[in-house]
């Protein structure tokens, strides 16, 4: 484990919203190919932490290094770094004025990573992977929630990211659609993608995560394998939380 490369390095990260301190002091390394699931009660700072990793939220203090780029440094070209960090949102955030395929092609073509033809081929290949190649020309409004989220995952993958961030990807879904999205994520994990996932799906966490990070009040309370954190939690706050959700 030790010689694996830390793809994300976070040191003493703090984030305030005005007077509200959301992240108080977070330090963590995330390694290549690792699947990390962030658990914790609402308001514990999980989503904020995730959004700091691609600077959708600017850190108040501390250092974040992604792929050897210090993204908390103002001189770093954050757009370049973001090309390698895919993000999937709770509310999908597909572009409603573009078709499914256009949603996926937009970034690779605009950022000159691929020609239109290449992006199209890549888009179709990704859609096949998430089981939606038949919907390439549909508009997002014509899709179910689960389908939208699978398209959103394909869109993020189109840039060939090194890391994927998932911000409660199944929380806005009807229960019967949760499975199809989790399955796509499981396959992605099996393919070796580095993933950081904020979720309330304990079953998914137990099955897929290499490491569980339990957060509360802006701190990491406890972390370890699913066996350690979910089955044998040590901290009182973790035990309390798990008792409520399990």
């Amino acid at each position: 484990m030790e010689d694996r490369r830390a793809i994300i390095h976070v040191e003493n990260l703090k984030k305030d919203f005005g007077k509200l301190e959301v992240l108080k002091d977070m330090s963590i390394d995330i390694y290549e190919g690792e699947v990390v699931v962030l658990l914790g009660p609402s308001g514990s700072g999980k989503s904020t932490f995730l959004r700091c990793l691609n600077q959708l939220e600017r850190a108040t203090a501390g250092t974040i290094v992604v792929d050897d780029n210090v993204i908390t440094d103002k001189n770093t070209d954050i757009n370049k770094v973001r090309e390698n960090i895919g993000m999937v949102f709770q509310h999908f955030n597909l572009f409603p004025h573009k078709t499914v395929l256009e949603n996926i092609m937009l970034a690779p073509v605009e950022l000159k990573k691929m020609t239109k033809e290449e992006a199209k081929a890549k888009g179709m290949q990704l859609l096949k992977r998430v089981g939606l190649d038949a919907k390439a020309d549909a508009y997002p409004s014509q899709l179910s929630g689960g389908q939208k989220q699978r398209v959103a995952i394909a869109r993020a993958l189109a840039m060939n990211p090194d890391v994927m961030l998932f911000d409660e990807p199944t929380s806005a879904l009807d229960p019967e659609m949760v499975g199809e999205v989790l399955n796509v994520m499981k396959e992605l994990a099996a393919d070796g993608m580095t993933m950081i996932v904020v979720t309330h799906e304990i079953g998914f966490a137990r099955e897929v995560a290499d490491r569980i990070v339990f957060m509360d009040g802006g701190y990491i309370v406890e972390q370890g394998t699913p066996e350690e954190v979910i089955s044998h939690p040590k901290e009182a706050r973790t035990i309390d939380f798990l008792n409520k959700v399990l």
């Binding site: 691609n54 757009n79 409603p96 937009l106 869109r155």
Partner: protein, 224 residues
């Protein structure tokens, strides 16, 4: 009735010419107003405090001044103020009128565009930025195309207001439709007939334009 026909027969050419001037003034003003509106709207929605301030001051200042005062200020005031440096400087009624209308309409347009941009869910900008697109590209490719749909009814409404506002510029002597009405009613002493004709002419143009606009609106909304 016969006097209406008489006026139309005698002044048809001049009335149509004046209507053309009205439309020209409207069109020119709208083009500049769109540009002005877009610039100040983008200043207002961004995070730069200095731009926010400039944008707010512009919108408040222009909306706080009656159009007729703005027109007088630009047509008479500005050349008078520049006399010391550029004694030859003059603005034609068309130039001054276009500037005044464009400034006025631009301020309202800025508010319409700002509201349109803010009506687009914040997640759209975030999703686009998370893919590595710049703020400018995200605005142009993701946010604005969606904003425009919600803006269209208000923009059409503003276009119609601007068309009607051209009549105010009769006060600086631009020979648009209302000014022509003044001339004709002065010549013929037939106020009722003259102003009825002028009123109907405005109405026909505006109703036609709003019908066309409705059609555009429907087309844009298709496939949403």
């Amino acid at each position: 009735m016969s006097s209406i026909m008489q006026i139309i027969e005698t002044y048809a050419g001049m009335l149509m010419g004046a209507l053309g001037k009205t439309l020209l003034l409207t069109l020119l003003s709208l083009v500049f107003a769109m540009v002005i509106g877009m610039i100040f709207a983008l200043m207002n929605v961004g995070k730069n405090r200095v731009f926010n301030f400039i944008g707010t001051v512009y919108v408040d200042a222009v909306r706080g001044v009656p159009l007729i005062v703005l027109a007088y200020f630009i047509y008479f005031g500005v050349p008078a103020g520049m006399k010391a440096i550029f004694p030859e400087f003059r603005l034609s009624a068309l130039q001054a009128g276009t500037i005044a209308l464009a400034m006025n309409c631009g301020a309202y347009m800025a508010e319409i565009i700002r509201a349109g941009i803010e009506s687009v869910d914040k997640g759209q900008m975030e999703a686009s930025r998370s893919l590595g697109l710049t703020y400018g590209k995200s605005m142009r490719l993701v946010v604005l195309p969606q904003a425009i749909r919600t803006m269209i009814p208000s923009i059409i409404n503003q276009f119609i207001i601007t068309l009607k506002d051209t009549s105010i510029l009769s006060v600086i002597g631009f020979p648009e439709l209302t000014n022509m009405g003044k001339t004709i009613s002065g010549n013929t002493f037939k106020s009722l007939e003259t102003w009825a004709i002028v009123g109907v002419m405005y109405m026909v143009v505006i109703v036609t334009l709003s019908k066309i606009a409705k059609r555009i609106e429907r087309r844009v909304n298709r496939g949403r």
